[in-house]
């Protein structure tokens, strides 16, 4: 029997990111009809700046959710990484301070990964515990003080360059580049395929010869490193080391992942979907703000969107069974 490829329209319709992308476009159309300022380069540049920190956290979150895990500690790890970078940069060379912050974040990811694989604890519990541990460490280490007067290396990503008639931050470019990098790694390397296989079923992956423990530890560590980059973005955006930062970013990153069509059951989803998910949140916040809707309604609508997204995921899974 002949083996043929699925037709293009069918492939587009069955792409998991089709729904989120349609939602994003619809939202953009809606807001541009309701606000003249919405559809401008400057406004979009602002939206990307507003979502880049949570978006970058959500890259790590996507990796972990694809393995059927979850990370509640990513916002706290980022805050700690930011404080480490900020405090150290006052006494040692700033680039070394940045490296130290990245390493600390990766190390927390590594600990999460080891606890999940070696002691076989549920990721929810491990990262819930880690959330509290790291939150406390952040406040102990910073003595609850905001770190100010940072060297320019730490705020470079917050600076802008001219693109057409729009000013774009270097951080926005880095964030988009990270999304593209991970889309490539997940979609076009053996490592990426193994992450999906692991999320489908750890036992199947193991029997196929994939070293599942090593892969899981690697995913958590890599996610930690990405949180470190998010920390640098955060510091560059705010210009200070803030121990109070990122307290709801763990849940916001999960929101972005889910809105992007990645399944919380693991093994299904796209990191570019997460970018779309983060943008959906950003567009709604920004658009509703431009329309003069009180901010509490933005939260309300985000909540409804999340439930809708999970419901769609669940229903589509049921249909394919």
């Amino acid at each position: 029997m002949a083996v043929t490829e699925a037709s293009l329209p069918r492939r587009i319709l069955t792409t998991p990111t089709a729904g989120p992308l349609a939602a994003l476009i619809l939202a953009c159309v809606f807001f541009s009809l309701n606000s003249e300022q919405f559809l401008t380069g400057g406004n979009f540049s602002l939206i990307i700046q507003q979502v880049m920190v949570v978006g970058t956290l959500a890259i790590g979150q996507t990796l972990i959710i694809l393995t059927a895990g979850i990370d509640l500690s990513n916002g706290a790890i980022m805050a700690f990484g930011g404080i480490v970078m900020a405090k150290l940069s006052l006494s040692i060379p700033p680039l070394v301070a940045i490296g130290a912050g990245l390493a600390v974040c990766a190390a927390f990811g590594l600990i999460n990964g080891l606890l999940v694989t070696k002691i076989v604890l549920p990721p929810f519990i491990v990262t819930l515990g880690m959330l509290n541990v790291v939150f406390a460490l952040t406040h102990i280490y910073s003595q609850d003080q905001t770190v100010t007067g940072l060297p320019p290396e730490l705020t470079f990503l917050g600076q802008t360059f001219q693109l057409g008639d729009t000013r774009v931050t270097y951080g926005s470019v880095l964030t988009i580049a990270l999304f593209l990098l991970f889309a490539y790694l997940l979609g076009h390397t053996a490592w990426g395929r193994h992450v999906y296989a692991l999320g489908n079923s750890p036992e199947i992956a193991r029997l196929t010869g994939i070293r599942t423990d090593r892969l899981t530890v690697g995913v958590y560590s890599l996610a930690g490193l990405v949180y470190g980059i998010a920390a640098l973005l955060l510091v560059s955006r705010t210009g200070v080391g803030d121990p109070q930062a990122g307290q709801t970013d763990n849940l916001d990153s999960i929101t972005a992942v889910v809105l992007g069509g990645t399944s919380l059951f693991g093994g299904r989803g796209q990191v570019l979907g997460t970018l779309i998910g983060a943008l959906i949140v950003g567009v709604f916040r920004n658009g509703l703000q431009l329309m003069g809707v009180p901010s509490i309604y933005q939260t309300l609508i985000t909540g409804i969107l999340v439930i809708l997204a999970v419901a769609v995921d669940q229903l589509s899974r049921r249909r394919t069974r």
Binding site: V3, T189, R193, T208, G209
Partner: protein, 270 residues
């Protein structure tokens, strides 16, 4: 005398107080379909897992082509050319067929793209998968759809095709027809025949006596963690084999002997 392709002597595996394998032996001859049958809890799956590296026996030895081997994980068994189709655990549902065929053994692009950027060679993997599928006469609409959108028989076909594509020594299948309808089961049995015709010995674990009698060259009967008989389907009736499996009959010097008179009478064999 021909050497067995895969052999085991005195395998023991305990899980706490439960003894799953109690000195089990096993012999697979070249080019045969060997059915492994046994009641629930007889240790069929444990035996197969030990032979394929998924678990490590507490004692006993495994020989491949007469040489002693130890498999510390499934990957090592696969390196020795033993491929397994595990029941319900064969393929990753959300990945496509070509990805599943090459899972854990991906091909990379030649040159810099593959070496530096570790880029997968999807076209080459797809083409090779299509070839295997065609060779085993497994008809599929598309190789790029996720496996979960296929029927049960097609999924099993993909799992079997993968095993056959990589196996150089032995293909092991755990209940390959368990979840399938009549027509699909027939297709999988045909597939097993085609695998044997290519010269690969097949170990088939099954509960389905008609299937076993249809396809097996020999039957290994597992009971209470041991091999209690090796039979040829033509020399025994299905009822006899079931009786041996449940302990109503025992085998001595190739002949079935009544062990449990009441039980044998109950199934009309005395």
């Amino acid at each position: 005398m021909t050497t067995a392709v895969l052999q085991a002597r005195g395998l023991v595996k305990r899980y706490g107080h439960v003894t799953a394998l109690d000195g089990a032996d096993f012999d697979l001859m070249p080019g045969e379909v060997l059915a492994v049958i046994g009641d629930n809890g007889a240790g069929k799956t444990t035996l197969i897992k030990a032979l394929t590296g998924a678990i490590q026996p507490d004692s006993g030895e495994i020989l491949l082509d007469g040489k002693r081997v130890r498999f510390s994980d499934p990957l090592e068994a696969r390196r020795h050319g033993i491929e397994t189709v595990y029941q319900d655990l064969a393929i990753a549902a959300s990945l496509d067929i070509a990805t599943n065929m090459f899972l854990g053994r991906e091909l990379r692009r030649p040159g810099v793209l593959g070496k530096v950027f570790r880029m997968l060679d999807k076209p080459r993997m797809r083409a090779a998968s299509a070839e295997y599928m065609a060779e085993l006469k497994i008809g599929l609409r598309s190789l790029s759809v996720p496996v979960e959108s296929l029927s049960g028989g097609q999924r099993q076909g993909v799992a079997v095709a993968r095993a056959v594509a990589w196996a150089s020594h032995v293909v092991v299948m755990d209940e390959p027809t368990a979840a399938l309808g009549v027509k699909e089961s027939g297709q999988v049995l045909d597939l097993i025949r085609r695998v044997r015709d290519r010269g690969l010995p097949v170990v088939l674990i099954s509960h389905n006596m008609p299937h076993v009698f249809e396809i097996a060259d020999r039957i290994h009967v597992q009971r209470l963690g041991r091999r209690v008989a090796q039979l040829k389907p033509g020399e025994h009736s299905m009822a006899e084999v079931v009786a041996i499996m449940t302990g109503a009959l025992t085998v001595s010097e190739g002949k079935a002997v009544i062990a449990d008179k009441d039980a044998a009478e109950a199934i009309g064999l005395s």
